[in-house]
Symmetry: C2
Subunit: 583 residues, 2 copies
């Protein structure tokens, strides 16, 4: 049964479930449920969907992840960046007569199917093409976009836009219609939530609560803001004075829903679905691995893809929208003592009860409060230090980060993250297409050969030793040829060229043809071409070809042996025409 356990991790932890774990899981579930109610509503708002979609997206997905996922404490549901990407994707379909809710279901369905396929084919490595700096830049820019998108709710105006410029322009043009009561509520809620983050925990501890209780009290801050502002709207009749409220939310369990299977809708959504899946996966796996490391547990990236895929398919058929493992909710779950994924199942039960019983209570909840929750949450994601760090360490990474940030802000999330990936790959190819090459000489008294430009080394007459610091493949094969030809162009004293291959991890067919060309070209000038320090796997490949028998020179185990053999009187044997050259 080990194979079944691999695909159903629940079989592993479920067997050793006991009362101890139950109580830890239950406490965590209660806390996460309280935290998730306002958060789910807020992210539905951010995605441009009715508030109940946020709650539905947190119920079945969390249960499915508990069955298929490998993290013990990851909490799956709507998260800020994915909600923003959902809003951008379904906004594009509005012209085509597809309603937002169906579009979001379709997006969740495609995203789930894509993740599942990646997982079944073990293609999790694809997520590696998102470099860390690009992710950091993308999250920062998304945070700014999300916070800006919520300003309209704080100001009580109608505005739209997918990019920073569109949003700011939209807000500017409706500044005259600001509802000042909404502003008062929104700004108060925002200020309160910022204070809760910093000041509530120390305050609760000063008045005598234990550290754990104080921490939980601080997490409940948003719930308090929700209660207070809802009461205020109800008590003072603020809804009649222009304060936008959540309004009627169906009092029901998640409905059974179907995504759209219209070909044109599927085609329009597949690109965004792929981007959402990859971003969601990267975010989720980072959180999962961070938490797993703390308890020395292991995460299987390919199985995580299956868990997230199942969660998204669940969202697609129960009125949700794309979900992934969220950072803040997972940390809360972990800190509150969750021991197994069962905590997630209990959270789902809590949210189902909320969907059945509590929805009438949020009728008067002002949207400004939800916007305040979002703004406070996402501004903690904004961190421009990556720009400075990458500038200092690597201009290439800096270019990728700044392009990602700039394009995400000005052209939207999809363009931004695609550009980040493309630029990272192009820069990598560009760098490896112009490999670092060094003429090397012997470090006196040792068997080591180092760059003549960086070390005091001895050169040997008649021998040019060149180290190439890159695998040889199609992108740099021609460059290698050009540069070797340049190096030997004015050297009439040469009898041997040794290519030191200690950093060559691969020679593909293009590079093999270039090496053959170099061998031939050097041969016409009576220069022997040798290789040294060729790695085992590379040598295995060369042995399958004619290259080694055509080689004018030899292959040496080490650079030192090569120089010794070619200097050691035996030089004549290799270069019959070396008159007047001291060796």
């Amino acid at each position: 049964m080990p194979n079944l356990t691999r695909y159903l991790p629940v079989l592993d932890w479920g067997r050793s479930y006991d009362r101890d774990k139950l109580s830890g899981d239950l406490v965590a579930a209660v806390i996460v449920t309280i935290m998730l109610i306002p958060q789910s509503l807020a992210y539905a708002l951010l995605a441009g969907l009715p508030p109940e979609a946020g709650i539905y997206a947190s119920i079945l997905p969390i249960v499915l992840y508990a069955i298929f996922g490998t993290s013990r404490t990851l909490a799956v549901g709507p998260v800020a960046v994915v909600s923003l990407m959902t809003a951008a994707a379904i906004g594009k379909l509005s012209d085509q007569g597809i309603d937002y809710v169906t579009a979001a279901l379709t997006l969740a369905f495609l995203s789930g199917a894509f993740l599942l396929i990646l997982g079944l084919f073990r293609l999790g490595f694809l997520a590696n093409f998102l470099s860390h700096p690009v992710i950091a830049g993308f999250i920062t820019a998304s945070g700014i976009l999300i916070a800006t998108s919520q300003l309209k709710h704080i100001l009580g105006v109608k505005a739209s836009g997918d990019t920073l410029i569109e949003m700011l322009h939209g807000l500017w043009s409706v500044l005259g219609t600001i509802n000042w009561i909404t502003v008062l509520l929104g700004v108060t809620a925002t200020a309160f939530l910022f204070w809760v983050r910093k000041g509530l925990k120390p305050l609760l501890q000063r008045i005598g609560l234990s550290k754990t209780l104080a921490e939980m009290g601080a997490k409940a801050g948003p719930v308090f803001a929700v209660l207070a502002t809802t009461l205020a709207v109800w008590a003072f009749g603020l809804a009649d004075r222009g304060v936008d409220i959540v309004g009627a939310v169906p009092q029901a369990l998640p409905p059974l829903t179907l995504p759209s299977f219209q070909p044109d809708v599927l085609v329009a959504m597949i690109g965004p679905a792929i981007l959402i899946s990859i971003i969601g996966f990267v975010e989720s796996i980072s959180v999962a691995q961070t938490l797993a490391a703390k308890r020395r547990q292991r995460i299987d990236p390919d199985q995580e893809l299956i868990g997230l895929g199942a969660a998204n398919l669940g969202a697609a058929f129960t009125g949700g929208f794309p979900v992934t493992g969220g950072f803040s909710r997972s940390v809360v779950n972990f800190d509150a003592g969750a021991r197994t994924p069962a905590a997630g199942a209990y959270t789902a039960v809590g949210l189902a009860i909320a969907a059945l019983m509590l929805t009438p209570l949020i009728y008067f909840l002002p949207k400004a409060t939800l916007a305040a929750t979002i703004i406070v949450a996402v501004l903690s994601l904004v961190d421009f230090s990556i720009l400075k760090r990458s500038w200092v360490y690597s201009k290439a990474d800096f270019a990728a980060v700044s392009a990602t940030i700039l394009l995400t802000l000005t052209l939207g999330v999809e363009v931004g993250v695609s550009a980040g990936v493309l630029i990272s790959i192009l820069i990598h190819l560009y760098k490896s297409s112009r490999p670092h090459m060094a003429v090397v000489g012997q470090v006196p008294g040792t068997e080591h050969y180092r760059n003549v430009d960086r070390h005091n080394v001895t050169l040997h007459d008649g021998i040019l030793s060149v180290r190439v610091d890159e695998s040889l493949y199609f992108a740099n094969a021609r460059n290698l040829e050009d540069r070797i030809y340049d190096m030997i162009a004015d050297r009439d004293d040469l009898h041997h060229v040794i290519l030191m291959c200690s950093a060559v991890n691969e020679i593909d067919m293009s590079a093999l043809e270039s090496l053959e060309a170099i061998n031939t070209r050097l041969g016409t000038r009576d220069i022997k071409f040798h290789l040294s320090e060729v790695k085992g796997p590379v040598m295995d490949g060369l042995k399958k070809t004619h290259f080694l028998s055509d080689l004018t020179g030899r292959v040496f185990l080490t650079q030192h042996r090569a120089v010794q053999a070619l200097c050691n009187g035996s030089t004549n044997q290799f270069s019959p025409s070396n008159d007047g050259v001291s060796l």
Copy 2:
């Protein structure tokens, strides 16, 4: 003036032009002109354009390349593969009410502009992303497509299609309408041309001609086929019996033409134009470098882009279509003794005279003869041996080649070549995302450290030395972490991990963060983390960060010094808790 000479190579060779060079160039020009007349007509036919377009595309472009190009002997004009790609690209526009001629001009314009931009920004390295095997596969598949596309002219039927299946299906459905007189002409011409390739030169030599004259006579074979079949059609009135002929061709110099600047046409053509430019550039530069090497001349790839860009812009404004440096015409030019690009200018004059005077003579030229010319020329490009060679040497290259061939044949040239490039890049990223890593030990009696799985080496207790054979960057950063953690998981005896970086040519920010994570994780288990053999440029980068001061271990110049220092009694200093472990 050296800078001006760089952009205008004509200033360089023009100054030393003399009678000797003049006579060589003139002879070559006459031979190339005779060869180009049928070839130009044939490639215009292949591109789906009126025959005169082929001649026009060979006049101004060849002159502009002579001024801006760096090859002394490259002959620029329509070539088979680019003509096929032109046909595929302009075929797509037929629904939009743009005529083929204007579409072809637009394609040449965009292609010229793109090449010029690449050249001015010195982006010639982009062409390196086409690996040699992918090019070989693409040329082979294109040859098959081209030959198949010409069968309809040999059979005298009407058919169309861009892919092999479409073409064969098209031919199958019109088999009943075959014109047997056309078949007789076409098959005879094809057989004759194949014989000319193999048998004419020896025959001419046997009847007493010198080797050079015999070679030139063989090159004139197509002209003879053109003359003979034209005469046959005229003499026997075959045009009235269903043999398709070239018909009236304007008797004029190249006209002044304008490409379309309609935004939708530009948008539709930009993708094909980029592919045509890159394929054309790669084909052209390969020919140019092969010929330059024979006379020890140099080709500047970036200036070549400018030369080809100018040639294509010239084609766009004088009734032509996309052009590039052709293999067969350049070789003929070279062999016939061309010394400078002036030979190209004389060829242009020859073709201009032909356009003015000779076009009435080709009225009765059967299209079947032109098709025969094309078929014989392209079948020499078909070479499936690349499949076998890549299978033996590298399965990755084999995958890229076979995908390129298969997709070019079944989905067309654009999909085929794009897929080839993408697959090459993805395979490269995939391979470097799972780097080869080896545990290394000391080769007894030396300072060398080699893979324990391949060599008899000595290991040192308490020390794990790992060599990673790849640059460390975003695509493999996480993999590095995972594998190091796996290696140390069950090793309670370890006190030192040494990462041997002799093959690490770069550490980007993602990898730096992974190294920091490894350092921290090993630290929690009281294992020191060391680096050895770090290359100069990589070390320069690390010095700018906190990494070196946070490192629990040290950085050693060589792996041997690292092992000596950590074994040599000084081990205690690094790992205080090494009770009971022999070092």
